[in-house]
């Protein structure tokens, strides 16, 4: 079965030499970039347009968000270590770093949940003003992406626990890593443009 086989398998000839699954995923990330670009642009367009408060300066807690941003950045480092461990065939390392990545992602989500609740109590809801709408929908979609990533990592972790995640599966982990880093980069853009830029 080494030649002329199903096109989607990774160990076969491709015109560019790139793996098909990875290329497809890059394409999807390209599409997702436009999705987040539209959400971020909307937030920027609506900056200062809210007719009543609370306004961003009333509710943003920069130290807390800096902390969660730092956690998410660190999770990308864990992801790199997880991939390296899987590629080495190091089961212990794979388990540790996959778990740590998912854990750090979850801490980020926890911070976001806390932030949302805090904003809600300060009187900012989806329908309060355009700040509330564009902020919650943008960060909400980002948070949903992080959640998907955490679930994906936990599934890989369970797979590793059962001893089914060897070096031959490195590609799957690599693509999960692509996704994770992408979600992380989107957050860096959000943190800079939405929280830091005044």
């Amino acid at each position: 079965m080494n030649h002329a086989a199903a096109a989607s398998s990774d160990h076969h000839y491709t015109a560019t030499g790139l793996n098909t699954f990875k290329l497809g995923f890059w394409t999807l990330i390209g599409s997702e970039s436009l999705f987040f670009a539209s959400l971020i642009s909307t937030y920027m367009v609506y900056k200062g347009e809210s007719v009543r408060g609370p306004f961003p300066s009333d509710v943003f807690n920069i130290p807390l968000t800096s902390f969660s941003t730092f956690v998410l950045l660190m999770s990308s480092l864990m992801m790199v270590l997880a991939l390296a461990a899987v590629q080495r065939g190091d089961r212990k390392g794979s388990l540790l770093w996959l778990f740590m990545t998912a854990l750090f992602g979850s801490i980020f989500l926890g911070c976001q949940a806390y932030e949302f609740t805090h904003f809600y109590h300060a009187g900012l809801t989806l329908g309060t003003n355009v700040f509330g709408s564009s902020f919650f929908i943008l960060t909400g979609f980002h948070g949903a992406h992080v959640l998907m990533g955490v679930i994906w990592l936990l599934i890989l972790w369970v797979q590793a626990l059962r001893g089914q995640l060897g070096a031959k599966d490195a590609l799957t982990v690599e693509v999960a890593g692509l996704y994770w880093h992408f979600v992380d980069i989107v957050w860096i853009a959000i943190f800079t443009l939405i929280y830091l830029l005044d």
Binding site: M1, A7, S8, G24, F35, N129, S133, I137
Partner: protein, 604 residues
């Protein structure tokens, strides 16, 4: 390893699986292509019927055949159907069937994802049209301007169906775009370099890039609308600081690339059909490729020419006007390339060729009126009149539909093994040409005389009755043309002349294999060395016959249809206006995706 893969041994005919279940679980790009085509043609009949209802209503002044409300629903659904349920999917049908064959691949890159796209599209289309049964079809125009579409001005279910339905269809398109880009970049046969690819495949590639970049912007605009309507956000609510133009910008940032998403496949078809019927290679292949890519790029910088009448100011108007006039250049380049291809060729006037000639002529007319409204002062007079309706029907009917019909007549023999009847084909062609010109040409005059679009009737004193009667007659002639086509297909499926592998003497790779091709497309392929492999030495003998080694094909799967159903469900549940039902729906989607990922089919 590969336990669930269907293995095609030498001499067996694994492509002969039949029955409903085999279609539901199929991942074969050819079967999915056929399902796309049949579904899109059914919607074409529905959308055409809606057009005829519009024409009956407008056939005389002060007509009361349709009420104003029903008329609004009919013209909205005509536009929405023709663009999202017909124009895009029919192109995808042809991509599905033809592109893997043209590049010498066994299937698309992600066969199950391909099936997923189809099922999402099918269910999404049905969902949108179910609204008719509730008497609440979308009724605010196919570009759904806010604030008209907000809860305050459209309280009914109409706009709900529209925003949710298009969200569903957008997902199918994005998945398809990812699939085709990956397929075309990665699955080309040895020797099939980018600059040897057939033009149809090239335009599929450019179009897919536009799809994956434009559709997410629309998805965001639609999410805002849905959330405004269901969950009380204030994106389009001016009272809370919302900008009424946000929707227009987001919509047209998607909407103008969408125009090229619709037309580029037709450009690809004609660029492959013309060489076959003129017996010479396409004139200026490189220029046609580059101008197609250029159209893709500039197509992103012209969106606000749909918004000149909103008063954006002279700087924005000038920028978008200039960009719009510039995009006419690469389009004009293509027209001249096609003319030069025909020039001095040994032309055979078969039906596909006739449709191509009609495309060149009618698209040029539509292109020229497009340049007219590219100029803001002229556009201010033409906006929202029948002049605009005339323009985009010339490019969409005269360009897209003529091109797609050229494609149908051209590739029907490859798909079915039988030819479409030439005599009926010519009837079809002449009814289309005469009918559509009779419909759309007088619309220029109606528009310049002041007839607004989207108004369900008009006063007798406007003296528009005669023009409208001519238009209506033309519309019905076109409708008869569609019936002739339907009859031609039904008849030819049984009685059509047997086609053989390459009935037109064409040059591209899909004509090397049998008609219809075996499940695995080619037994084996020699290295591709030229742009016209079949004119330069590759013969059917090389690529057909029993495979010499076992070929592994992806096995059927029912996860695509289940995943599609749950994606539809998750989005439709937004209509409950509670947050937890769609979340449950998403959980269901996740469950399907996990099962999908661990299905042994395409893993090694």
């Amino acid at each position: 390893m590969a336990t669930a893969e269907a293995t095609i041994q030498s001499g067996t005919t694994a492509g002969s699986k039949t029955g409903l279940w085999s279609w539901i679980t199929t991942v074969d790009h050819k079967r999915i292509g056929i399902m796309y085509a049949v579904t899109a043609l059914v919607w074409f009949l529905v959308g055409g019927l809606e057009a005829l209802l519009i024409r009956i209503q407008l056939a005389k002044p002060e007509n009361d055949f349709l009420s104003a409300d029903v008329y609004n629903q009919i013209f909205t659904m005509h536009g929405t159907t023709m663009i999202f349920l017909v124009g895009m999917p029919i192109a995808v049908a042809l991509f599905n069937y033809i592109v893997p064959l043209q590049i010498g691949a066994r299937d698309v890159a992600f066969p199950r994802l391909n099936a997923l796209s189809y099922w999402i599209y099918l269910f999404g289309g049905i969902f949108m049209n179910v609204s008719f049964l509730l008497g609440a079809a979308p009724n605010m125009g196919w570009f759904g301007y806010t604030p008209l579409t907000t809860e305050m001005y459209s309280p009914g279910l109409n706009a709900d169906f529209w925003s949710v339905g298009l969200q569903i269809l957008g997902i199918a398109s994005i998945m398809g775009g990812v699939n085709f880009i990956t397929t075309i970049i990665n699955l080309r046969a040895p020797g099939m370099t980018l600059m040897r690819m057939p033009l149809f495949t090239w335009m599929a590639l450019v179009q897919s890039f536009l799809v994956i970049t434009a559709l997410p912007v629309f998805a965001v605009a639609l999410f805002f609308l849905s959330f405004d309507r269901f969950y009380g956000t204030t994106f389009y609510n001016t009272m809370a600081g919302g900008d009424p133009f946000l929707w227009q910008h987001l919509f047209w940032i998607f909407g103008h690339p969408e125009v090229y998403i619709l037309i580029l496949p037709a450009f690809g078809i004609i660029s492959d059909v013309l060489p076959s019927f003129t017996r010479k290679p396409l004139f200026g292949y490189n220029m046609v490729v580059y101008s197609g890519v250029l159209i893709g790029f500039i197509g992103w910088g012209v969106w606000a020419h749909h918004m000149f009448a909103t008063g954006m100011g002279p700087i924005a108007d000038s920028f978008f006007s200039i960009a719009t006039l510039i995009i006419a250049i690469p389009t004009g380049v293509k027209i001249f390339n096609w003319l030069a291809t025909m020039w001095g060729g040994t032309i055979r006037f078969n039906t596909p060729m006739l449709f191509c000639i009609a495309l060149v002529a009618m698209f040029t007319i539509g292109g020229i009126s497009g340049v007219h409204h590219g100029s803001p002062p002229a556009d201010l007079h033409q906006t929202d009149t029948y002049y605009v309706v005339a323009h985009f029907h010339y490019v969409l009917f005269g360009g897209l539909i003529m091109g797609l019909f050229a494609g149908f007549y051209y590739w029907f023999p490859k798909v079915t093994g039988r030819m479409l009847d030439e005599k009926l084909g010519k009837w079809n062609f002449w009814l289309f040409v005469i009918g559509s010109n009779m419909t759309f040409f007088p619309m220029h005059f109606a528009g310049l005389l002041g007839m607004p679009r989207r108004i369900f009737t008009y006063a007798e004193e406007l003296n528009l009755a005669t023009i409208n009667q001519i238009i209506t007659v033309g519309g019905f002639l076109t409708g008869v043309g569609v019936l002739v086509f339907a009859w031609n297909v039904i008849r030819s499926l049984k009685k059509g002349e047997i086609a053989g592998n390459n009935p037109w003497g064409s040059h591209t790779l899909e004509w090397a294999t049998t008609s219809p091709p075996p499940e695995y497309n080619f037994a084996e392929l020699p290295e591709i060395r030229t742009r016209e492999p079949l004119w330069d030495g590759i013969s059917s003998v090389d690529v057909t016959g029993p495979p010499k080694a076992p070929i592994h094909m992806p096995s059927p799967s029912f996860w695509p249809i289940l995943t599609a159903a749950s994606i539809n469900l998750a989005l439709i549940l937004m209509m409950t206006e509670k947050w937890w039902p769609p979340v449950l729906g998403v959980a269901l989607v996740l469950l399907c995706v996990i099962n999908w990922a661990y299905e042994p089919a395409s893993e090694h």
